[in-house]
Symmetry: C3
């Protein structure tokens, strides 16, 4: 592909040699001859003058700033959001359009299963009775779809995913290997020192455009549904307890644990290894720093740190002093000595 | 089912309309017409007057308290432990009795395997030589049972579970999808900067009535056995190292990590994301708060918080001051100024 | 086997009864009649006089120390590194030499797959087109090998492992059940409140002699490669983000999370549940204590603790004062009262 072809595909304006052949795409530090890269932050502009890339995606503003600093010898594509454009270029250069492979005769398909058009059901897939599989859905090897579970159009399920019975999965959902959707919630009632299982008879609803990482566990509800809102992205090894409700367009980073019946609003960002207590309510656009432990309700728009988590500025101030405690204690002891001497 | 039928099944006394048709069960906030719910805590009693439920399970005490607050219009079941009774009702209303499905001809079954009565072995199950499968055991699709492993009566193994060779699993055990039982312990000996594997030739014993969550990892012992005691319940994504010994009726919440050769007594409760150091000994009925890190032995009956974990009251007092450190430092600086001025 | 046979196999000098029959090996506390054990630490020497073991592996130094404390009645093997020798003895006594089982006709093997000599490909294995499988490789049931992926000689892959397309796995690598290699990195670009996927078109390189625990997630690179260096050992449930580069002979304990593009040097030791921020650089031979959170670059040779992690001595001092904060605050208040009184 020439740079001009790419410019047309992503609707970019073009500067410099429009006929350069583009054979790959890379980050600005690794990109070489024939490759296209991007700059999305002002602090990286000077890399334009050292990168081996043959073409660079920039915003109008960043281009101006770069031009003020030196001569740009690469082909340039000008777009509103360079990182978004780069994502689109990776798609164009590397991803092949979806080709349905049909239904393997080494898959197990139960009674009364509804199958959409142009689907892929691989060898060693297992689809229980009454399941519904939408159009262009990909069911990879070793995917288990439980009884009556519904998978909507254009959803891609990687190998070794378990989706138990009575789960609803929306459109364009991506589920990575080893994820488990709809396992029993961790519900017991203790009586005379023994723990008796509370049957987990609810379901799970995964809305459209959700992405679920590898080895994630999402439990079904005791009654009702565990819900993951539209456009939310979940990283690897995350634990989501029974009856959790997550809003739209949230980002849940790896190894986060969300306790049963917790609720998250829309646009919430949860960094890695955070723990969220069961039954609490977290507002919209809340940001929670890595390894924090959230133990109580959080209003909209807060940024939290620490375990138990508090306002991030407050925590940073307190923690800054924590590391200085030895010198502070020394100071206190000196004051004490002085006073005792004066007495 | 009528309310009377349910009362008989769970051995409850009944008040109000005994002939109400019960079609479902839900939590008190979600329950509607035809549904049964329960109240097990005094602070939730007022919900009896607003819930849409047609019937409520209560204890004698809670019923009296409720009657003193207003007129109860629903059918009432009176029991000793309302939550336990509700669990039983969910079972009656939603779970079908076990129906053995026999042995799929698409399963792989090795030489000299012992198979009990009324079992279910699904397509794509894999059972190695010399394994022993008890009566009414369910082996779901993609379950791997290693050589010589023993699974006792009434145990249910969900899809994608790996149970390696030489493991013993007791009666009525439930293992959720993606759990791995008997993988090699993490044992190496370092010599001249390189790490040499210590063969892990021990086994794992899972006692009766244990439940193991999805994507849990339980390592086999180096020599001897890793042991999970009777009635212990393990949530999702928990790590249990080699040679760990866990007592009876413990509760291990999601994402906990227990280091090699650690020992837990009976009735221990470990909240989410806790880390327990290798080779330490934790007494009976110890409670460990979320995200704590336990670094040394703990006597019976302690409640711990923090990382490293200490007595929870001590930790709460110290942490309460942590968040006030900026104002405390200000105070110290003022005192210092005052004293220097006086000098 | 006699003790003499074992001495010859591991190249040890021998003392005492050379003809004792050795039937097993155990830790010093559990070892009984006919078993061999080892002592590698001075503080455990007195156990030599109470253990039930029939033979003990010792270093020259430890033997001398033991002899100075009492009469040793067991057979003794003298080696440079007793723990390493014990590992070797476990191998000799318990592990059978590898026996290739050939290619099951119940495996799925795609087009143009290259298969080495003496391999084992089990029932329900799935190998995509263009994959390359080296000599003596073991592919267990339910192992998925993606398109074009290369597995080099003597690598052992346990059940339920997913290795996606375009991954390179070296020689003598061990991958435990449920591990996922090459799943998509967690890369999104947010635009007007929605998160757009950045295609993850890079790969993963696992170098020789790496061991990967059960239910581990290792993401593929956005572009370029995620790299795990030669001889590095990774415990269970570890998360490794896209474009991470880990050096040689590192030890990564269970439930650690390493953020995207982070770099670790050689010989780094990361204890359980540690979090490492994305894009940071950690030097050679760094040690990071359990549950620490590393937020910025770390020079060679440092030992860190805490979240955010700092020098471990500094952290221990600060934390020692943290637990004494209530008494310190009391002291400050007393000082304040005194001063106010004096005013």
């Amino acid at each position: 592909m020439t740079l001009k072809d790419i410019a047309e595909s992503i609707n970019a304006r073009i500067r410099g040699d429009t006929e350069i052949e583009i054979t790959g795409a890379s980050g600005i530090d690794e990109a070489g001859e024939g490759e296209i890269t991007y700059v999305a932050e002002k602090r990286l502009i000077d890399k334009i003058f050292s990168t081996g890339a043959s073409a660079i995606i920039l915003s109008e503003d960043l281009l101006k700033e770069a031009q003020s600093r030196g001569q740009i010898r690469q082909g340039i594509l000008i777009v509103r959001n360079p990182k978004l454009a780069f994502a689109r270029v990776l798609e164009i250069l590397y991803l092949s359009p979806y080709q349905p492979k049909g239904i393997s005769n080494r898959a197990y398909i139960g009674q009364n299963v509804t199958l959409g058009r142009d689907i892929t059901i691989s060898a060693f897939a297992y689809i229980e009775d009454d399941a519904v599989i939408g159009d262009r859905v990909v069911i990879s090897p070793y995917v288990y779809i439980g009884k009556g579970t519904v998978i909507e159009n254009d959803t891609y399920i990687y190998p070794h995913v378990t989706v138990r019975e009575g789960v609803k999965i929306g459109k364009r959902v991506i589920i990575h290997p080893g994820a488990v959707i709809g396992s029993d919630g961790f519900g017991f009632v203790s009586d005379e020192g023994r723990h008796h299982k509370i049957p987990q008879v609810g379901g799970v609803i995964i809305e459209d455009d959700v992405e679920i990482g590898s080895n994630v566990s999402i439990d079904r509800a005791t009654t009702g549904n565990t819900i993951i809102g539209k456009g939310t992205k979940i990283d690897n090894l995350v634990q989501i307890g029974h009856n959790v409700k997550i809003g739209k367009n949230c980002i849940i980073v790896a190894q986060v644990g969300i306790g049963g019946s917790a609720q998250l609003g829309d646009g919430v960002i949860v960094a890695g290894q955070v723990g969220i207590r069961d039954h609490i309510k977290i507002g919209n656009r809340v940001m929670i720093g890595a390894q924090a432990g959230v133990g109580s309700d959080v209003p909209d728009g807060q940024t939290l740190l620490g375990s138990p988590a508090i306002d991030h500025k407050k925590w940073l101030r307190a923690h800054g002093i924590f590391t200085r405690l030895p010198e502070i204690l020394k100071k206190i002891n000196e004051i004490e000595r002085k006073i005792q001497k004066e007495d």
